[in-house]
Symmetry: C2
Subunit: 203 residues, 2 copies
């Protein structure tokens, strides 16, 4: 992904990769479809063969990123032995993914919320799926008597997502040297698990 | 604040109260300055004597709400005996304030991020002040050896803010019966403190 233009891959993917870069550097409002076409190395009109509008491009980028998030979450869930281990793995996977996909994280934490279409009309099935999967892990821990159950799992899941999302936003917007997001992930994993656990694990 | 129009108080306050209601019901993009003038009981042109634009109205609303948040935070800091007590009081005060100022919370969690001017140009000194005050409480606890110190206090403060902000967003957008935000505040206070504390308090 170095250099000015995006080559290789199928056209739709090239346009998405170009859009991610252009939105991250110029912002959603500042980006023109012609800028994206230029970086993707396609004619302006070609973009409209794949995407209806700039909002549609942004939402498609978000969906591609949510697919990655969901894959990471499902991987963490599959590998973890119990609910607390699954949560810890997921927190680490989420923040590592932000680090590895900085442009995508920028687009999602900053630009996406400026799309009126996204905020008002888009039903966001992938985000709902993500929250449902995360809540299921927490509920599993609650049912096993391992995690606090005063608050329903979907609320606990949203709270954890809020913490992760704000950390991602802080990391992508920090000027100068960025903080060590993996160290923060370890800390957050400890804080969340120590805070939520009803009994400490026997080693 | 019942009934259709806003009466009493000075004109600037009336316009701000009207804007809060109109933004919450029609959204920032959907709201017209003339709607706000109608609810405030002033002529359309009067609004421009106090505010330069619709974006300026939104930012002024945000600043009024941040003044309330800062006052609550400073109250919690003044009343609490130690850092953990201060944090617990602040979490409760923040979520109680969301409950008591639903329209303001809606405007801030949903509408504000759609203002390109707010996201791009506004330097947001009050939010910076809020985060600084919250970080100072956490740092106090770290220096006393009461709270985990692996992560700098400003990062811990942002993480806590993210959790609170997402809970506020979930609460204001929930359909049907809203969850008990005070109960959630107690839970979050417990989770954060148990998670962050290095040693349990002696009762």
């Amino acid at each position: 992904m170095n250099g000015h233009s995006v080559r290789g891959g199928d056209k739709r993917d090239r346009i998405l990769q170009a859009a991610e870069r252009v939105f991250a550097s110029k912002g959603f409002y500042g980006a023109k479809v012609s800028d994206i076409a230029h970086v993707a190395g396609v004619a302006d009109g070609t973009i409209y063969l794949y995407f209806r509008s700039k909002d549609d491009l942004l939402i498609s980028l978000f969906e591609a990123q949510m697919d990655r998030v969901l894959a990471e979450l499902r991987g963490a869930v599959a590998d973890g032995e119990d609910a607390t281990e699954k949560l810890r793995r997921f927190i680490a996977a989420y923040l590592t993914m932000v680090e590895a996909n900085r442009h995508a994280a920028e687009v999602i934490t900053i630009e996406l919320r400026q799309s009126a279409k996204f905020m008002k009309e888009y039903r966001n099935p992938k985000f709902a799926e993500f929250l449902k999967t995360l809540a299921a892990v927490i509920q599993e821990g609650q049912q096993q008597g391992r995690l606090r159950a005063e608050v329903p799992a979907p609320i606990a899941a949203r709270t954890l997502f809020g913490a992760l999302d704000e950390l991602a936003l802080m990391w992508v917007t920090s000027r100068g040297e960025r903080f060590d997001i993996r160290k923060v992930a370890d800390w957050l994993g400890d804080v969340v698990l120590k805070g939520l656990e009803l009994q400490r694990r026997q080693a």
